[in-house]
C-alpha cells in the first residue's frame, strides 16, 4: 500500500482480487443490513453494516468502499424488499467514501500500520463523512425524488448519523487494530511474482 501513487490509493487498483473483495463486501453489507442490527429500543436498531466499507476501504481505498456500500445497499433493499431508496443508498455510499479514506492518511492496514493518530483521524473522517452524507446529500435527494418532509428526514438523518458514528468508532477502531495486528504478523512474508 505504502508505495502506491496517490491516485491508486484513492481509486484503488481494479484487478480481479479487488472486484471479488468489493463483491463480498457488498454481500456482507446486505447481510448485516438485514440481520446484523443491534437492538436499542423497540423497533430501532443500530446497523452494523457500515463496518464493511471501513474494512474494504482499509484494504483497497475509498472508491472500492464507495462501490461496496452503494451496491450493497441496493442489494439489501432488493432482498429486504422495502423498496429501493436511492437517497439513502447514495448517502451511505458517500459516507463510505469518507470512512474508507484510510490509506490516504497513511493507515496501511494490509502492511500492519494502524496507530493511535490514525484512529483519531479516522474518527474525525467518520464524523465529517456522516455529516456530509446524511446532512446534505440524503436530504437533497429525498426532497427531489420522494417528497418526504424535510424536517422528518433531518431527524432521521441525525439519528442515522449518530448510530453510524457510534458503530464506526466503537466497533470499527477495535476491528482495525485487530486487522492491522493480524496483517503485521504476516508481513515478513513476501509474495513471489
Amino acid at each position: 500500500m505504502a508505495n502506491k501513487s496517490f491516485g491508486q490509493k484513492l481509486l484503488g487498483v481494479w484487478n480481479t482480487r479487488t472486484i471479488v473483495t468489493v463483491a463480498i463486501g457488498a454481500a456482507l453489507f446486505g447481510v448485516l443490513m438485514n440481520y446484523g442490527g443491534i437492538p436499542v429500543f423497540t423497533n430501532t436498531s443500530l446497523t452494523t453494516a457500515m463496518i464493511v466499507p471501513v474494512v474494504v476501504g482499509a484494504m483497497y481505498g475509498p472508491l472500492p468502499a464507495f462501490v461496496a456500500a452503494g451496491v450493497g445497499n441496493v442489494i439489501a433493499d432488493l432482498i429486504g424488499g422495502w423498496g429501493l431508496w436511492f437517497d439513502w443508498s447514495v448517502g451511505n455510499a458517500v459516507a463510505a467514501l469518507f470512512v474508507g479514506l484510510l490509506p490516504i492518511y497513511g493507515a496501511y492496514i494490509t502492511d500492519g500500520v494502524f496507530e493511535v493518530k490514525h484512529a483519531v483521524i479516522y474518527a474525525i473522517c467518520c464524523v465529517i463523512g456522516n455529516a456530509v452524507a446524511f446532512g446534505v446529500v440524503t436530504p437533497i435527494l429525498t426532497a427531489v425524488f420522494y417528497g418526504s418532509d424535510l424536517n422528518v428526514t433531518f431527524l432521521q438523518a441525525i439519528a442515522a448519523s449518530l448510530g453510524n458514528i457510534a458503530v464506526e468508532v466503537v466497533i470499527g477502531i477495535p476491528i482495525l487494530f485487530i486487522l492491522a495486528k493480524r496483517y503485521k504478523s504476516r508481513s515478513n512474508l513476501e509474495e513471489d511474482e
Binding site: 480481479t16 446486505g30 476491528i175
Partner: protein, 306 residues
Amino acid sequence: MNNRLVINYTPGPTMLHRLTGFTKVFLFIAMTVAIIATYDIRILIPLFLINLAEMISMKPNYKPIVIMFAITFVTVTLLGNVMLFLVSPDVGFNNIGVTNMLWQGSGRLYLTKEFLWYCLVIFVKRTASFASVMAFALATTPSEFASGLNKVGLPYKVCTIVSLAYRTIPDIANDFINIRNSMMMRGVELSKKASLWKRLKNTVLILVPLIFTAFGKVGNIANAMDLRGYGKHRKRTWYAEHETSKWDTIIRILAVILLAAAVYYIIRYRIIDPWPARIWCPWADPNEIVSVNQIDTVFFMKWFKK
C-alpha cells in the same frame, strides 16, 4: 430465514421470467423514473396497478411479500406518519398549498385535510415503488441482472460485482447466523439483557470472525476467476443473455414509451408549466395555491433568517 429472501436463483416459468435480462433491467429503470417523476395520484395508481399485475402474473410465493409489506407498512407508514404529525403538521400546506382545518388541538397539534391527502399520495408512491422492486426482484436472477446492467452500459466489472454479491449472500448469511449462534452458546450476550455498551463490544466478537471468513474466500474466488481468464478482454458475453423473443420486443417498446412519457411529463409538467404546488389535489383551486419553498420549511432555516 430463507422465507425472507424473495430473490430467485433459477429462472421461473412465466412470460415475464423468460424475458432477457436487458428487457427486465430496462423496464425497471423506466418504471423507477416514472414513479420518481410524479406526485400525481392519477398517474401513480395506474403505475402501481401495472406492477401489481406483473407480480401476480408471476405466481409468486406470497408469504414473504406480505410479511415485508406489513413490516414496511407498520414502520414506515404508520410510525412515520405519527412522527410526521408530531413534527410537521403543516406538511400538507407546504406540499399542496391550501389549508382546510379538520381538527385543532393545542398549539402545533392540528390536523388538516391536506395532511391526510399528503399521507395518501406518499403512501401510494411508496407502495408503487415497493411493487416495482418486488416485480423486478421476483423476475430476475443474479446473472440476468448483471447481463442486463452490462447491456444498459455499466462496465462489466461492476456487473460482476453485482452478480457475485448476489450469489454470495446466502453463504454469508449462513456464516453470520452460525457464528452468531456459536458465540451466543459461548455466553456472548447480544439481547437486551446486556447494556448497550456491552452489546456494542460483543458485536465486535461476532464481526471479527465474520469478516475473516467472508474475506478469506476472496483469494480462492479471485484465483479461480483469473485462471479462467477473467478480465483479459475489454468486453464479455453472458450466459444469461439469450435470444430476444416476441415478448421482449413488445415489452421493450412499451418500456421506451413509458420512459419517453416520463421524460415528457418531467419537462412539460415539472419544468415548463408546473402545477403551483408540488402535489396535485382535487379540491385545491390553482389560483389560491400558495407555493412554498421546501427549504424554508426546515426547522433550522429560521435560525439563519430574522
